[in-house]
């Protein structure tokens, strides 16, 4: 699945080809939301697949 197809992808208004991909993490000490800039047309890697459809 491409990032742009995911509900957790938020494109930039001035450049929809780039955006932020949000992931929810619960580690042994804390819970947080993390984000990294990605290209809309790139494939979501396997280790982030669980966040793709949410």
């Amino acid at each position: 699945m491409k990032y742009k197809e995911s509900k957790n992808f938020f494109p930039h208004s001035d450049n929809p080809q780039r955006g932020d991909f949000v992931e929810r993490v619960v580690d042994p000490r804390q819970a947080y939301y993390k984000v990294k800039p990605v290209n809309a047309d790139d494939e979501i890697p396997a280790d982030a697949a669980e966040f793709a459809g949410k």
């Binding site: 938020f10 932020d20 949000v22 929810r24 993490v25 580690d27 042994p28 000490r29 804390q30 819970a31 947080y32 939301y33 993390k34 984000v35 990294k36 800039p37």
Partner: protein, 832 residues
């Protein structure tokens, strides 16, 4: 004894048992409790990082890729462009319940890695067990590739090629000092006057730089001449500063965007939604603009600290939060009542937690010297305003109260005491000490202001702005007073002075000729001959370290470059020079003197037992020392028990201590920093007394190779101060705390049972009056019983939040080695 208490255990019962950590848990808000427990501790335990801590590889990779791309740019510009790329692309996160954001890694459990600092650190990282992110093999490959790129090209590599080879070898031996003479691992003062007092947001600074560039370009497009030639480089430096400021604003706004996304698409709790939207507004506003709310004030400050730490490792955290955040606190809490005091306390507590979680990968020697922490964050509270009036305010109280709630080992506080501090403030200071935090340390403000003027010529108003540059040394926060680069490599293992004096400059531990040949000590006939040898070794040792640091400072703009730090410093914004350049810096250097008191105690023992009483010969002594006192136990006990020891108000040894200090002070005025200013001595230890325990040989004070050295500064040896606390103060009072050195660390241990209640407070207050009257500049306290500490050794899991004052910093007791723990427990419990 200290299993989790039953839910109905009252605060009173816990107070009686002195289980302050359970009280803190009961009293702090749900938010602070969550955030406190959420922290991934970055301090090493016994030299090893905690399970789950991983080194961050994203940032070094992003940085290196761009650094390689811009290879033709000068250092400042190259670093700015590489950093901008990092800030634009690094993952960021917002922790649940957080109201402040910003971290120097990509995930909460990651350690920052200064990949361009030193090849030897990079090699250590490769071999460090447990810190590689999974999958480990892939991470090791990435590290190997990064190390291959940087090998020979790090800041320390470049400096080592320029340094005198003999100086380099002796410095790298690890015997005489530690640290790395580069901004990569230094610590920088911040020009808070420029940022906060003058109320500059980053957009304001961009305007100032644009004006500077405009003037400069008029020159470079005008009549040619030699005076315009330096301007070209400065224009590039200003460009670098602009890149950093714009990148920093964009980085903050990434958090704003994430907070908005979370509020709109993920968060269902209305209260948390509101908090996220407020966080978004905060990060939209700062650091672009000057802060207009208390939350913005703290967030601006925290962004500055994180950005500085993404640029360089930064081993300390000079700050004066109750002073610089007071205007916005006063506005929001007191005047306009936009937030309650409890809400402000939550912010203050979180501000401390955000600092506590910060950490970068350190080499082993640093982890051993700073057990349990990643740097000494000593924040400065109290003191006076520029006009000399009392600066303590309600935010001072809030920080002291928040400290007791969150119980972090870092930051700690240094409290600037002066005679007009209100009783209300002193009580809060004492409560922190009574709760076993080991801080605040107490600093004699009028005396230290005088000291700053004496050694470095800071004008009175500037001297009054002082903050702790690291654990101890005052430094102004002003345009010409702020010190952008204090490198820990001006840190001397002073016990080597007496060791080399006894062994003709030869180091039997590292087995090489280190110091100059000052003569076969077996042939010394008088104490003055020994003292002359000591003085020569002292000068040699200090000179070697200072030469290294001076060169490191001078070359730093070429070998490293600090565009962000320059962009927030008035003299760099004005001049276009890298702020690290000594030009415009008044100079605020000092030599940290680890393992200092051993000199006085050892010299006194030799004088008494060998030269005065002739009970032993120098031959006897040298034989015993060369055998590490093995087979000489009775003789060793004579040297311990029959020779006077520092801290007992005994003029015999106290006179030697003062004589040693005055020799150093004289030499301090002869050696100069790159700005042409002096290099006074500052005796203190962090946990260098443990790190050097296997590096300093047997000494006439009775120690063997392997024993912990004394715990710091001018603190008497553990258990050797036998005449009570007044005697300790009187010994220390014989030192001139203005003219004899920069500052002098004194650890004292007090009895929790003796200092309970109102009576305890009054006793302590009287003690502080005596301390001030005797003209001491520093004192700090441990107030925790043997029973608690021994129990913590047996059952560390149940005592996670017990804190002890190690030396210039505090640590969680369970995070330090057994040897360090025993050393702290053996400190004399003074009855005052």
């Amino acid at each position: 004894m200290a299993a989790q208490p039953a839910k109905d255990t009252s605060t009173q019962e816990l107070e009686q048992k002195q289980e302050w950590w359970w009280i803190a848990e009961k009293k702090r808000s749900k938010r602070l409790d969550y955030l406190r427990k959420a922290v991934w501790k970055k301090g090493a335990l016994g030299g090893n990082y905690a399970p789950g801590i991983k080194v961050d590889l994203e940032i070094p990779q992003l940085f290196t890729n761009m650094w390689n791309f811009w290879r033709y740019d000068p250092p400042m510009l190259r670093r700015a462009k590489s950093m901008a790329h990092v800030l634009e692309n690094m993952p960021i996160f917002i922790t649940d319940h957080a109201q402040l954001v910003g971290y120097m890694g990509t995930l909460p459990h990651t350690l920052a890695w200064r990949v361009d600092g030193a090849t030897m650190v990079n090699e250590e990282l490769y071999n460090e067990p447990g810190v590689m992110p999974e999958p480990e093999q892939a991470s090791l490959k990435r590290v190997a590739d990064l190390n291959a790129y940087w090998a020979g090209n790090t800041a320390v590599d470049k400096l080592a090629r320029v340094l005198d080879p003999e100086d380099a070898v002796k410095f790298l031996s690890g015997a005489i000092g530690w640290g790395a003479p580069t901004s990569a691992y230094g610590y920088s003062g911040k020009d808070y006057e420029f940022m906060f007092a003058q109320r500059h947001g980053f957009e304001d600074i961009l305007d100032l730089i644009d004006q500077s560039i405009e003037k400069a370009e008029d020159l470079t497009m005008g009549n040619p001449g030699p005076e315009i030639l330096p301007v070209y480089d400065r224009i590039q430096n200003w460009d670098a500063m602009k890149i950093m400021l714009n990148a920093a604003i964009a980085y903050a706004r990434r958090y704003a965007r994430l907070a908005r996304i979370l509020a709109e698409h993920y968060e269902t709790d209305p209260k948390r939604k509101e908090e996220l939207l407020r966080l978004a507004q905060t990060c939209e506003n700062v650091p672009a603009k000057a802060p207009s709310t208390f939350q913005e004030s703290l967030q601006y400050d925290h962004f500055v600290q994180i950005l500085a730490r993404l640029e360089a490792h930064e081993g300390a955290w000079p700050a004066r939060p109750d002073y610089y955040h007071w205007p916005m606190y006063e506005k929001d809490v007191i005047k306009e009542k936009n937030i309650t005091r409890e809400e402000a306390l939550d912010l203050v507590g979180e501000f401390m937690i955000r600092a506590y979680e910060v950490g970068g990968f350190g080499p082993r020697w640093a982890r051993e010297g700073l057990q349990g922490i990643t740097g000494t964050w000593v924040w400065t509270l109290g003191g006076v305003n520029k006009d000399g009036s009392d600066a303590c305010n309600d935010l001072t109280l809030a920080f002291l109260q928040a400290a007791r709630l969150v119980r972090v080992a870092n930051p700690t506080f240094g409290f600037r005491w002066h005679p007009k501090v209100r009783d209300e403030v002193m009580r809060e200071v004492f409560e922190c000490i009574r709760h076993g935090l080991g801080y605040p340390s107490i600093r004699n403000d009028p005396l230290l202001i005088q000291n700053a003027m004496h050694w470095h010529g800071h004008p009175l108003e500037e001297a009054r702005t002082w903050v702790h540059q690291a654990c101890m040394s005052p430094c102004p926060t002003t345009k010409h007073g702020v010190q952008p680069m204090r490198m820990a490599s001006a840190t001397a293992n002073c016990a080597k002075m007496v060791e080399y004096a006894l062994h003709n400059g030869y180091d039997h531990v590292v087995q090489m000729q280190m110091g100059p040949k000052t003569g076969d000590a077996r042939k010394f006939k008088t104490f003055d001959e020994l003292f002359a040898a000591w003085t020569t070794q002292m000068k040699w040792l200090i000179n070697t370290l200072v030469r290294t640091v001076n060169l490191g400072r001078y070359k730093d703009p070429e070998f490293y470059g600090r565009p962000f730090l320059s962009a927030i410093s008035e003299r760099a914004v004005e001049s276009g020079l890298d702020v690290v350049s000594p030009v415009g810096d008044r100079g605020n250097c000092w030599v940290t003197g680890f393992t200092w008191v051993e000199n006085a105690d050892s010299l006194a023992a030799v004088k008494k037992l060998v030269f005065d009483e002739k009970r032993y010969t120098m031959d006897d002594l040298l034989n015993a020392l060369e055998n590490n006192w093995n087979g000489y136990e009775q003789m060793r006990r004579d040297f311990v028990n029959d020779a006077p020891k520092w801290g007992n108000d005994d003029d015999f040894v106290d006179g030697i201590m003062v004589r040693c200090l005055q020799e150093v002070a004289k030499h301090s005025r002869e050696i100069k920093c790159p700005s042409g200013n002096s290099w006074p001595l500052l005796p203190e230890n962090v946990s260098g007394n443990i790190h050097y325990s296997s590096i300093v040989g047997a000494l006439p004070n009775g120690r063997r190779l392997g024993d912990a050295l004394y715990d710091g500064g001018i603190s008497p040896g553990p258990g050797l101060d036998k005449k009570g606390p007044s005697a300790v103060l009187k010994s220390c009072g014989k030192i001139d705390h203005v003219g004899d050195g920069r500052a002098f660390l004194l650890n004292q241990r007090l009895s929790p049972s003796q200092l309970a209640g109102e009576k305890g407070y009054q006793l302590w207050k009287a003690y502080i009056r005596t301390w001030a009257d005797l003209g001491l500049d520093h004192v700090q306290f441990n107030m925790v019983s043997d029973e608690t500490l021994r129990a913590a050794q047996k059952d560390p899991e149940k005592y996670q939040e017990v804190i002890v004052r190690v030396a210039g910093y505090s640590a969680h007791f369970v995070d330090i080695s057994r040897k360090t723990q025993d050393n702290i427990i053996q400190r004399t419990v003074q009855g005052i």
